[in-house]
């Protein structure tokens, strides 16, 4: 078979990548507190158990609040930055964009520790808003990456045509630019939301007395009898993330098609 070796390599690679995640739902539905084969029977009781943990509900609400705020802030910043970078040439543009995009590759632990040190040195209390701060920092580059392709794919003469027909720059942005990049904006909101919801390290360092969901999950791993419930929760999170990312990518592609451009960016 042509390319047989490479094909086997690709299959192994995918198994290595996704097998651990597949284990999550398997044991979430397994009727045993011990995480081991053979499986002992099908149950949904671990999901039911999730409903009886008030601390978990607090963590979920906390996470949702942080994720929603983060996605709104990061996307707003992303709109401004990507519009500026796609439309204008200004001195220092490359270094500025470089520094904005840097958190994309910066180890999160470094961002987290650095932020913690600064916040403590300033004597500011830790809490949900410090987590939001950290998450905005790492989500904004993703937002910019998505929105830059949305803005760059838009024919510039569309905006000029609207101005030519009597609209002001602001009403042009509202009537033409926003609707055309809206799929990108939705995509950015969803991806930022997902990143913030799943993020652990920064949340772990910067959270105050109320943990986020991943931090709460981590704290529960110390108790073996709770592990199946954690698996159930993990299953829900994975399903939710995949769903959100799929919707996000759908909107991003639709946006590219609508603006009549070629698909060049994106993460999926």
């Amino acid at each position: 078979m042509k390319g047989g070796g490479l094909r086997i390599y690709a299959v192994l690679y995918l198994v290595f990548l996704y097998a651990p995640i597949v284990l999550l739902p398997i044991f979430a539905f397994n009727d045993s507190t011990i995480i081991a084969f053979p499986l002992s029977g099908f149950t949904t009781k671990w999901f039911g158990e999730l409903a009886d943990i008030p601390a978990l509900h607090g963590a979920v609400l906390n996470s949702l609040m942080i994720a929603i705020t983060t996605s709104l802030l990061a996307t707003t910043l992303g709109i401004c930055a990507s519009r500026a970078s796609a439309r204008y040439a200004f001195p220092g543009k490359k270094p500025i964009m470089g520094f904005i995009m840097l958190p994309l590759v910066l180890p999160e632990i470094i961002v987290a520790v650095a932020l913690l040190v600064v916040l403590l040195a300033l004597g500011l209390p830790l809490g949900a808003w410090t987590v939001i701060l950290g998450h905005v920092l790492i989500c904004t580059p993703f937002s910019i990456a998505i929105l830059t392709s949305a803005f760059a794919n838009m024919d510039r003469s569309l905006e000029e045509a609207a101005v030519d027909l009597g609209e002001t720059p602001w009403s042009t942005f509202r009537l033409i630019t926003l609707p055309l990049v809206m799929p990108g904006i939705i995509s950015s909101l969803l991806i930022s939301f997902t990143i913030s919801l799943d993020e652990f390290i920064i949340a772990f360092f910067l959270t105050g007395t109320e943990p986020t969901l991943p931090v709460y999950l981590w704290s529960q791993l110390r108790f073996p009898q709770k592990i199946p419930a954690v698996m159930a929760l993990g299953t829900i999170l994975v399903a939710l993330s995949v769903l959100l990312l799929t919707i996000a990518e759908y909107y991003r592609r639709r946006g590219v098609a609508r603006a009549g451009g070629k698909d060049t960016g994106g993460f999926l």
Partner: protein
């Protein structure tokens, strides 16, 4: 019949950093005329159009439209509308929303709005297309929508930025005729940017030929074609043969020249375009001003002889490259393929009729 100017450009300069994009453009564009800015890419024609539209600021000089200085007036407050090269049809709006876009601010009621959109669509031959989605249109239809959208505001001047370059040849030729008719019908001044000299000749009342940020020549199509004022313009507009020549004598408003391959000819001053001195000159001849003689001499013309070096058959026309005796380079001659007239073969000796009145002298 010189109409008053609608646009007055005075010494318009435009710099992009070090790059000098417009080098002192001065010209008047008259009310109701079809005016073309013609030139190769990078000559500044689009920059000039965008300067008139208000998308670019001038570095110095003035742009006056309809008697008002446009200094500091943004594009949305100028009495101009533009048809973009990409048409810039708003993809998320329907055809009628696109066409009616400029009327949003006019505060018209729904009925009046629908009536004017319908009128505009009818004018460009798209009646009944109002509900269509913009992205479902063909190239030619998009262009009509762009035209209707720009004309619905009844601008003083319509600016067209290479509007036909994206269409195929047949459609382009049809649209040229339609644009001319449309312009006569609405009576609005059209300014067309194009790199296609044939398109400019077909459509325009006057043409400004641009080169390297300046206007090389501004005239009506016929003058431009018959009396180009420089070798560069002559070469850019259509096909021009150049033959080296020497000035023999100059007296009053006549110049006598000795032309390689053609012999002596006496030219009048209006045929001698540029005036700077020097006795090494060249004369230009259009391919259709030369005729290969098939049977016998005809009166009133002069004859030169040469050998056919190349034959290019075009169906309705045949182009012959003929090297005249005593000339270093061949001249191109175009002949209609009339009934009973054979296509000559390479190597045939030919008698070429020419007349001094068709020559242009370049110094």
């Amino acid at each position: 019949m010189t109409r008053p100017p609608i646009i007055e450009l005075r010494d318009v300069q435009k710099y992009y950093g070090e790059y000098h994009a417009l080098r002192g453009i001065t010209c008047d564009i008259r009310q109701g005329e079809f005016f073309s800015l013609l030139g190769p890419s990078g000559c500044g024609k689009t920059t000039l159009l965008r300067t008139i539209a208000g998308f670019e600021d001038v570095s110095s000089g003035t742009v006056v439209i309809d008697g008002k200085n446009m200094q500091g007036v943004p594009a949305n407050q100028r009495p101009t509308n533009m048809v973009f090269q990409s048409y810039a049809i708003f993809p998320h709006l329907s055809v009628e929303q696109n066409v009616g876009f400029g009327l949003r601010r006019a505060g018209l009621d729904k009925g009046e709005m629908a009536r004017r959109v319908g009128e505009a669509l009818e004018m460009v031959g798209l009646a009944g297309y109002g509900k269509r989605a913009a992205h479902a249109l063909s190239g030619g239809q998009r262009q009509r929508v762009a035209l209707a959208r720009a004309l619905i505001l009844k601008p003083k001047v319509l600016l067209l930025d290479e509007p036909l370059s994206a269409l195929d040849k047949k459609l382009r030729e049809n649209m040229q005729v339609e644009l001319i008719k449309l312009q006569r019908q609405v009576g609005i001044t059209f300014i067309l940017v194009t790199h296609d000299q044939e398109e400019a000749l077909v459509m325009s009342d006057r043409i400004a030929v641009m080169s390297e940020g300046g206007i090389a020549q501004m005239d009506d199509p016929e003058t431009l074609y018959r009396r180009p004022n420089s070798r560069w313009v002559a070469d850019f507009i259509g096909v021009m043969n150049f033959l080296p020549a020497k000035v023999v004598s100059e007296a009053g408003d006549t110049v006598e020249v000795e032309i390689a391959g053609l012999g002596r000819a006496e030219l009048t001053a209006n045929q001698a375009m540029a005036s700077a001195g020097g006795h090494e000159v060249s004369v230009g001849l259009r391919p259709e001003t030369l005729t290969i003689q098939f049977n016998g001499n005809q009166s009133g013309e002069r004859i030169a002889e040469g050998v056919i070096e190349e034959v290019v058959y075009y169906g309705d026309m045949t182009y012959y490259d003929v090297r005249l005796d005593g000339a270093a380079v061949p001249v191109r001659i175009s002949m209609r393929n009339l009934v009973g007239r054979p296509v000559l073969e390479i190597g045939t000796r030919a008698r070429v009729a020419w007349s001094a009145g068709a020559l242009v002298l370049f110094r």
